[in-house]
Amino acid sequence: MKRLVGFCASPRAAALLLGCIAAVSAYGSLIPHRRAAAVFGSRAFAALCVLLFLHILAGGIASLRRGRREPWFALLRLGALLVLAGAFLGGAAGARGRAQLYPGRETASFTDARGGALEPGFTLRLDRFTVERHPGGRLELGISVPGEEGMALHPVRLGEWTGPDAMRVRPLRYLPDFKIGDGGEVLTKSAQPNNPALEVEVRAGGETERGWLLARFPAFPPLGLGRTLREGRVVFFDRGSERVKSYASEVTIMEGGRPAAAGRIEVNRPLSFGGYRIYQTAYDPVGWQWSGFTCVRDPGLPLVYSGFVLLALGVTLWAGAGEFGP
């Protein structure tokens, strides 16, 4: 028994365990994410981590008995133990679930990875959801004419004719958020590129027409260009405007039917309430209508963060102060 304990605390055991964990991790990084999640969530991998925890603990006790005084190594050991303990606690007692909400709607339940329900004991109501996009970066026209393969791209320069002789196109006006008003007039709803549109004049087959191209709806028949685009095709690209700059949800948390807290959740700024953290993790990529949340409870997090602090201190003492001093 003594020999077994001795081996468990030995550097050989450390090399064996770390080698196994490294090999499994490397394998997990090379396979598809879903299969990798199964590997890292397996009991065998958890057992390896438990063995590592026991090894570090046994090594620490052995060092104390031998009276070795290396504060940096003690900090590293303790830091690693806290991180592993926090991870075990988070895995055993933690929970996470997802939900999608439209503005004005609420939910008291989040769906976990196995399809079950996580009920945190409060209700989350989405009051307002806003998506801010980067202003349109590059405006381009794709023009294809019969007899020529592919679609040639041309930068949009307002007022200038562009394209092949068989189909000349002149951009006239850009609207970031195209809408047809009640009186049939064309207008922009906002300065945000929600529905970028380009008014163009097209000259083809001896005819000239004016009409609108919508970047979000390239398959939609161009408005007012029925005669000139009978055979060719013109597509408007608003590159960059589809890139989301930020998205945020203004929410109210209800307990017992009454508002208990309110706040704004955005990426990098989760909201904490009742032992849970609510993250902004998704959005409706088509119509920007719904907002996606992930609700997480991780009781091991304080242990993990304490471990991080000790690891940082230990490494600083060890690799830093010892080497970079005078």
Partner: protein, 261 residues
């Protein structure tokens, strides 16, 4: 980064490489000083370029492959200025311009345009995490260069103590900042991605890289009897292969959350 400044830096580091080769062949102090002066000129151009790009982009210039390569070149010479030159580690210091020129040469083939930030990168952790990681990479790259110099010195039976000391010093510096980079990245991931460790390929390979250097430093500090220059060569070069895979291999070959470049 401003193209004329990047080109000027590349030209200065390339000239420093030529001067370094001549300096090593002729063992000339004057050429060593010329190498250091040229590389410091390149460093100044990069510093100005990074400041201007920061002002133009409105965020730390550490979000694209191009930007990180430029920063890596900058950090590498910073490391030489801070760690090697003050201690008169001349020969190892003269290898650093090669790292800088390689980074800038590769960067010159990439798209240098400033790209809009995705929401997850809009955080103060960006500067801390990425700068720490790339300071770490710079140290480990310099450690590998010194390790190669050590291998050559051993093969030619020439004095190798300075090479080994430089390699270990650079690796310690790199390891320290790699640790800060991984820890700060974990804290940031917990704010942005809901968990401090998601088994993302970049995270995994950063951890594996960290374990390689951790093993090396533990072996050196706790088992002095097993210390040997050959071990330093093995770990400095082998560890840097892990760094290269973490930086390039994971980005180009594996899909994951770190696919911003």
């Amino acid at each position: 980064m401003d193209a004329p400044l990047a080109n000027a830096a590349l030209a200065l580091f390339s000239a420093a490489c030529v001067a370094a080769v001549l300096s090593m062949l002729r063992r000339s102090d004057a050429l060593y000083r010329l190498t250091a002066a040229l590389a410091t000129g390149g460093f100044a151009a990069l510093s100005l370029g990074l400041i201007l790009r920061r002002m133009e982009a409105g965020h730390a210039p550490l979000t694209t492959f191009y930007e990180t390569l430029v920063f890596l070149a900058w950090a590498s010479w910073l490391l030489a200025l801070v760690l090697l030159i003050p201690l008169r580690m001349q020969e190892p210091a003269m290898l650093i311009p090669f790292i800088c020129a390689a980074c800038l040469g590769y960067a010159s083939t990439l798209d240098a345009s400033i790209r809009p930030l995705v929401p997850a990168l809009r955080s103060n952790w960006l500067l801390l995490h990425v700068a720490a990681c790339f300071l770490g990479y710079a140290g480990l790259a310099a450690g590998c260069a010194a390790g190669l110099g050590l291998a050559v010195a051993l093969r030619r039976r020439r004095p190798a103590a300075q090479w080994e000391r430089s390699a270990v010093r650079c690796i310690r510096f790199g390891f320290l900042f790699l640790t800060y980079g991984i820890l700060s990245g974990s804290v940031w991931a917990n704010e942005a991605w809901t968990t401090y460790w998601g088994w993302d390929p970049k995270e995994i390979w950063a951890l594996l890289t960290w374990l390689v250097y951790f093993s090396f430093l533990v072996l050196r500090s706790r088992r002095p009897a097993e210390r040997s220059p050959r071990m330093t060569v093995l770990f400095s070069v082998g560890g840097f292969c892990a760094v290269l895979f973490t930086y390039f291999g994971v980005s180009f070959l594996l899909a994951g959350l770190h696919s911003y470049f």
